[in-house]
């Protein structure tokens, strides 16, 4: 499984990419403005002229859902407004090349590679360690590789000894991965820290390509795309039509023509919808220009100074906040000072200094903390080339554990520590964080929108007055323009799987929202790296119910319509059937991933 690997974007040279970005940005921005204008026009009409008076409650619910969805689309378009890669800079020679204040005695840069593990197989961690040992750098560099084992396993210590790398463990598991990394930081003094999960395998060029960004002393971290080397890349459409569908040259031509219009299509790719490259190639790339790309943990390189300084500032803030209520009323300055000292020492004892926030979404928390630092304008860089590879979640259960963590973590931040309330973020940073948080509220509109056709099929009521030419004239231009805008904005990136899974995650996101609203504790489960043979039927019960109800509804309303024209109009039926088919298209891969048995993969060599 090793020999076949080649970085995905190896062929893309920076110059070509920049030119393509200019075209992409212009085409996308024009289409996005058009679709936002058409969407506003459609919604204005929808609210003023189309609500069905015979089912007003239903009509309003659907119209509210459409409006929320539109807000989401606007935010998403803004969040991918501009794609821009950071300029490449040569690898720094010594530590003074990356420091704001040079040291009197210059020296090679110190880099600590931290591989955080808890219960992953030793063979898997060994792969990561071996790849870390192959890291190359054109100048002298002081490289330390540390296995941070929260599982306190003798066999892992032995492996580290065999590989000649350092092994660190700690008596507790406080703070889980964030606490584990903190322990690593407390035992090292590297200028830069590479964060790896147990399965993160760096490519030799990781440091050589990314350290140049740290020549800017304000750069706090560089994130590289996470690349799952075990995801099925599928078969490209021309190839599939020519070979698998046995259409020969005609098929290939057809495939090429289709791809020319809609961008690349890969049949059977990534059935589990785990491939994160749409997120990295589109979302993260488009956050670079306004300093809003965020840290995603594995595959990132951090400046120790940034992480520690921000953590110390936050700690000081917390100490001051604990002291303030007691000293506020004390008028005598001497007494107040004495009291403050005593109280501060007491408070500090109970507070944690956390370089990485003790939170389910520690990476997002850390990003916000650094972006919003009032003392220092830290910058983040998204480096667009794949420089690490890792394992994807191995089955739907693992996928769900991971996504639930992301969803509940982000929603928790949104509700209890909302970055939009922080003064020091720029407007564009607010838009970017806002778009991320808003996207996790999506079940609030996707669920009503998916249920609307079912309600129509079973009860015969429609949310609009009529599915007539007027309706079509308003909605079709908007939908067409949004599709085109999305196509331009994500050109060259496969997004359909992501779209399907976005809709199919409605139940998971709804559970996450309920979980956070109920203020239930957020757990930090480690995403399982080994597939279980178990099928995950319970994860798709709501989806099966929805699909079943839709299928039944289509037949039921069809039979009624065939029997008596009074049961509704054909256009209403066709419009709802079309929408239902779209929903089924979105849900089916998710359902199949849960129901079809999967072969567990080998992870150890």
């Amino acid at each position: 499984m090793d020999a076949v690997f080649a970085p995905r974007m190896a062929a893309a040279t920076p110059g070509l990419r920049a030119r393509a970005d200019a075209v992409r940005n212009f085409a996308f921005q024009a289409l996005a403005v058009l679709s936002i204008a058409l969407g506003g026009w459609y919604l204005a009409w929808r609210w003023t002229a189309s609500l069905n008076p015979e089912a007003l409650g239903f009509a309003v619910v659907v119209a509210v859902a459409e409006t929320l969805a539109f807000v989401g689309a606007v935010l998403f378009f803004l969040s991918i407004w501009r794609a821009e890669d950071p300029p490449a800079r040569p690898p720094p020679r010594t530590v003074n090349d990356i420091r704001a204040e040079p040291l009197a005695n210059d020296r090679p840069i110190r880099v600590d590679v931290m591989i955080a593990t808890f219960d992953e197989p030793v063979g898997l961690v060994r792969l990561s360690v071996r790849d870390a040992k192959r890291l190359a750098y054109p100048h002298p560099i002081a490289l330390r590789i540390l296995v941070l084992d929260d599982g306190r396993r003798p066999e892992l210590r032995l492996m580290a000894e065999e590989e000649g790398v350092e092994y660190l463990t700690r008596p507790t598991n406080d703070g889980f991965k964030a606490g584990n990394l903190r322990n690593g930081l407390e035992h090292t003094d590297g200028d830069l820290v590479v964060i790896c999960d147990a399965d993160t395998r760096p490519l030799p060029a990781l440091l050589e390509e990314t350290l140049g960004h740290f020549r800017d002393p304000d750069v706090a971290w560089v994130q590289t795309p996470q690349f799952f080397y075990d995801v099925d890349p599928g078969v490209r459409l021309p190839e599939w039509l020519a070979r698998r569908a046995r259409l020969g040259r005609i098929g290939r031509g057809l495939g090429v023509a289709v791809e020319a219009v809609v961008g690349p299509v890969a049949v059977g790719a990534d059935r589990l919808g785990t491939d994160p490259h749409a997120f990295y190639d589109v979302v993260q790339r488009c956050r670079n220009w306004c300093n809003a790309s965020f840290c995603c943990g594995a595959g990132s390189i951090h400046r120790r100074e940034a992480v520690i300084d921000a953590a110390v500032a936050q700690f000081g803030e917390a100490v001051a906040a604990a002291v303030r209520p007691f000293t506020r009323g004390v008028t005598d300055p001497g007494l107040r000072a004495t009291l403050a000292v005593t109280l501060a020492a007491q408070a500090a004892r109970h507070l944690e200094l956390t370089p990485y926030a003790f939170h389910v979404s520690e990476d997002v928390c850390t990003s916000i903390r650094l972006h919003a630092d009032p003392d220092r304008r830290w910058r983040s860089v998204y480096h667009p080339r794949v420089l690490t590879r890792m394992l994807s979640p191995q089955d739907l259960l693992a996928w769900s554990v991971q996504r639930f963590k992301y969803a509940s973590g982000t929603l928790d931040i949104a509700l209890h520590d909302n970055p939009l309330r922080r003064r020091c973020l720029t407007s564009w940073q607010r838009v970017m964080y806002g778009a991320t948080m808003y996207a996790y509220l999506s079940p609030l509109w996707t669920v009503p929108l998916m249920l609307a056709p079912v309600v129509y099929f079973l009860a015969g009521v429609t949310p609009v007055r009529a599915y007539d030419a007027d309706f079509a004239a308003h909605v079709v231009p908007f939908l067409a323009a949004s599709r085109l805008a999305l196509l331009a904005g994500t050109w060259g990136v496969l997004t359909h799987r992501g779209e399907q899974y976005h809709l199919a995650s409605f139940w998971l996101n709804l559970r996450a929202l309920a979980h956070v609203l109920a203020r239930r504790p957020l757990r930090f489960p480690v995403t399982p790296k080994v597939a279980s043979a178990r099928r995950s039927v319970r994860l798709v019960v709501p989806h099966l119910l929805l699909l079943g109800a839709s299928a039944f509804g289509v037949v039921y309303r069809g039979v009624l319509l065939a029997g008596s024209p009074a049961a509704g109009t054909t256009t209403a039926y066709v419009a709802n059937a079309f929408w239902t088919l779209h929903n089924a298209w979105a849900l089916l891969p998710f359902v199949l991933a849960a129901l079809l048995p999967r072969r567990p993969r080998e992870v150890a060599p």
Binding site: A313, V341, A344, R349
Partner: protein
């Protein structure tokens, strides 16, 4: 290696790092060697007359030191320069690490 001068004055432990910078490198030794000296002490004074600058890592190590001391213990700083004072004020930790002008006076309090 971080060189230290350690003295006992009027019941307080006075630790004087003989290094120009308390940074990530020095922090490692503060966390290990100095932490071992400080453990269980009520009054500790860190005399910074040789220290020209301190960074977040150094400050984080001071926090770790304080946490190893028993409840009611105080870690005081003496001879802090302007840049260290600015760091303490910026991070709002000046109340946590009160300053004294003279280590001997601090120890008497």
């Amino acid at each position: 290696m971080l060189h230290l001068r350690v003295e006992q004055r009027n019941g307080a432990l006075v630790v004087t790092p003989l290094a120009p910078r308390l940074d990530a490198e020095a922090a490692l030794e503060l966390r290990t060697r100095v932490a071992a000296l400080v453990r269980g002490r009520q009054r500790v004074v860190l005399s910074l007359e040789h220290v020209a600058s301190m960074d977040g890592s150094g400050l984080a190590a001071l926090i770790a030191l304080l946490k190893t001391m028993p409840p009611g213990g105080e870690l005081r700083l003496a001879h802090a320069g302007a840049s260290i004072r600015a760091l303490l004020a910026r991070t709002r930790l000046d109340e946590l690490f009160p300053e004294v002008d003279d280590p001997a006076a601090a120890a008497r309090e």
